[in-house]
Symmetry: C2
Subunit: 432 residues, 2 copies
């Protein structure tokens, strides 16, 4: 006889409603893939009266979602409330403590409190599924935690925020400024009214911290992520990048440097002819590298009702099929605390754009700084003069150190002919 799994859903936004719809309308399909019956017993959301496209007849409405943790017959709590603190955290911790399994899309919660949650999960021997926390339409948690689990990964990187990728794509296609595209995206509902989580890189950093921990067998270290957003990218940079054979992408990159861990979210130049450069609009992509394996990359929609509910439901099917994996894919006792390596430890080539007054000697001043810091110039491009008498100058470098670049930039900023803060973008040449 088929087992029945009793479920509660906290949060009935687009993802919650779609998850509910599929569990109720596609019950035969889900049963064929799990030999289980799924039964939504209770739901909770901020407003009971809000119009929703789902029929909640016969489902218990819980006013305070935290009370779900106390309902005896619930096996799995699907938490779609969001936020690293507050009721979502309370609900998740209480549900686990009460022996219930939890499935969540809450990247902020996992990135911030994941290590404590992982301990609770092990103690109470429940399942904690968070596939939906990173790149919904790509089963990347499963890919890294199970599919590539035998590999000692050396690097992971990806386009982890669809809003930023959308803005950069539209910038390239239309030449519009960042602020204008953001305003349009907000009007269309692609970007939040407070966009800072997205455009300042925080959301990508949450996801990177989760992926790094799995990839490198180490506790989650969100505060150890260097974070830079895309506000400083101008259409000029997009044009120069295109001219030089690159695309600009906001990448999250985690890698082992010696025995330490380097994690950064930062706009980068990537060669136009590698797959990640072709990831456009709201799409996400994540790549993992290991010796032997080479590069394994996954691509898909990162957000929205369909992709995110797909991830939630794959966790639910894992639960129903008794497919369990430890929180980070590595036994807790075997996790290694890795020292965080600062950005200054990196080396590579770089793209710099400076806005300078078009006067004699200005290029000599710039190149002299690089000479003094031991930085070798690969290309120098200068464009036509602006009405204010300034011109953009772009320099790309051969392999050098992040430290030499930072020191050079500090010198550039002292030059009287340099106006504005220089835009510095690393050039990332990934292995195949």
């Amino acid at each position: 006889m088929a087992r029945t799994i009793n479920i509660a859903i906290a949060g009935l936004g687009t993802v919650g409603a779609e998850t509910y719809r599929i569990i109720t309308e596609e019950s035969d399909f889900l049963k064929a893939r799990s030999s289980a019956n799924f039964n939504v017993v209770a739901v909770s959301a901020k407003s009971k009266d809000k119009k929703r496209d789902v029929d909640l007849t016969g489902v218990e409405w819980i006013a305070d979602c935290r009370d779900i943790a106390d309902i005896d017959n619930i096996d799995v709590v699907i938490e779609l409330v969001g936020g690293s603190e507050g009721v979502a955290k309370d609900l998740v911790e209480k549900a686990i403590t009460n022996g219930k399994s939890v499935i969540t899309a809450n990247k902020a919660l996992v990135a911030t409190h994941g290590n404590n949650i992982g301990e609770l999960v092990a103690k109470h021997d429940v399942m904690f599924g968070y596939e939906a926390a990173v790149a919904g339409g790509i089963p990347i948690i499963k890919t890294i935690r199970e599919g590539l689990a035998s590999n000692r990964l050396s690097k992971i990187y990806g386009i982890l925020n669809g809003t930023c990728n959308y803005i950069l794509s539209v910038m390239r296609e239309t030449g519009q400024e960042f602020e204008d595209i953001l305003a349009d995206a907000q009007r269309l509902g692609y970007a939040e009214s407070d966009p800072s989580f997205d455009v300042d890189g925080v959301d990508a950093a949450h996801k990177l911290a989760i992926l790094s921990a799995i990839a490198f067998q180490t506790p989650i270290n969100f505060s150890g992520v260097y974070v830079e957003g895309i506000r400083l990218i101008s259409p000029i940079d997009i044009d120069f990048a295109t001219e030089l054979g690159y695309r600009i992408k906001l990448l999250g990159i985690g890698e082992l440097l010696g025995n330490g861990l380097q994690q950064r979210v930062r706009p980068c130049l990537v060669p136009v002819n590698i797959p990640i450069a072709q990831v456009e609009d709201v799409f996400n992509a994540v790549a993992a590298e290991a010796e032997g394996l080479g590069t394994s990359l996954s691509y898909g929609r990162g957000a929205g009702a369909g992709p995110t509910s797909s991830a939630v439901l794959s966790d639910l099917l894992d639960f129903a099929n008794n497919r369990r994996t430890s929180f980070l894919g590595t036994a807790d006792s075997e996790l290694v605390v890795r020292p965080i390596q600062e950005l200054q430890k990196l080396s590579g080539s770089y793209y710099l754009r400076l806005q300078v007054y078009d006067r004699p000697g200005v290029l000599a001043d710039l190149t002299a700084v690089f000479r003094d810091k031991g930085v070798s110039v690969e290309a120098l491009l200068q464009r036509g003069r602006n009405p204010d008498g300034t011109v953009p100058v772009v320099l790309t470098t051969h392999e050098t150190s992040e430290e030499a670049i930072q020191k050079s930039v500090a010198e550039f900023e002292k030059l009287e002919n340099v106006v504005e803060k220089p835009c510095i973008l690393p050039i990332e040449n990934f292995a195949g």
Copy 2:
């Protein structure tokens, strides 16, 4: 106390030797990801005396790999012998019948006898892992069978054969002919001495049949795959495709058409600016599409010791973690036998290259055929005359039916000015 898993490996080529090396040298790493000890008890290969880079001290050598199935204390048999018939089939069936779990990289065996093996696996309640049978460096079986399991997929497609993709990539980069590149690839060990499994599309068809069955909840139907290889592609086609904004790729495509299943392996034109077009050299990629989900694509190395052993070992870690999935991800009783839809049921736009004598009226003859068959021409390109007086003419069409194209081609072949068999390539415009 950690559980010990006893393993036998049949086949010690590059993949078998690398699998053995990792199990023995990386035992601590694998244990951290499974809480199990792995112990290779027995191995078997054609020649005991062949020089191998692994230390087999203390491991029992089994002359006839089929005898492995009778060794009592073995939990998992790793079958890397290959071939759809013969000893590999005997070993796998006997091992399962004797209650042992099996992990294999044998796509020919799974594509040809998978349905029977699936029944045996269910009857004897063992695990049968075949992640390595399709695109080793991409955990695509896991992705489709577990990660995307809640989606009703409508289409899967991919670059499933690294040798073909390598040849097409080199053709584009160097302008060399197919035969010359193949000969080089054989010399370098990238292509088999008998290349027909690869270049005629059979290998890709094996993989497609496996993926289709999982994706569409249907028994494996390898004989229902339409198969066409890349021998007819000439450097001229690559040039024309580039000029028109496309790449030529050998794709395996499976899709639901009405209640039926359409499966084909065939060279196609794909727009240059979508991710699958950027998959070059020996890389593989597989995409799945569903309403709601959109496209989810995975990319990586498809063959070689590192990628293939990664897949074998991910199955081994699933076994050690008790993560079980039914053979095709759907309960056997819920599999639906789907009628095969013939190629003629397809519609789309097409690329045709004809070699014609450059005489007055030839273009009028060609376009009249298309008019009579109701095919609308999108573009017509003609190139300079060859020394033999022939010219290549390329026609691309608007949306039409495969049937109209086939009928048109039959008429083209009757025209006295048409020399050679026309090259017909569908143009595949995939959804995002």
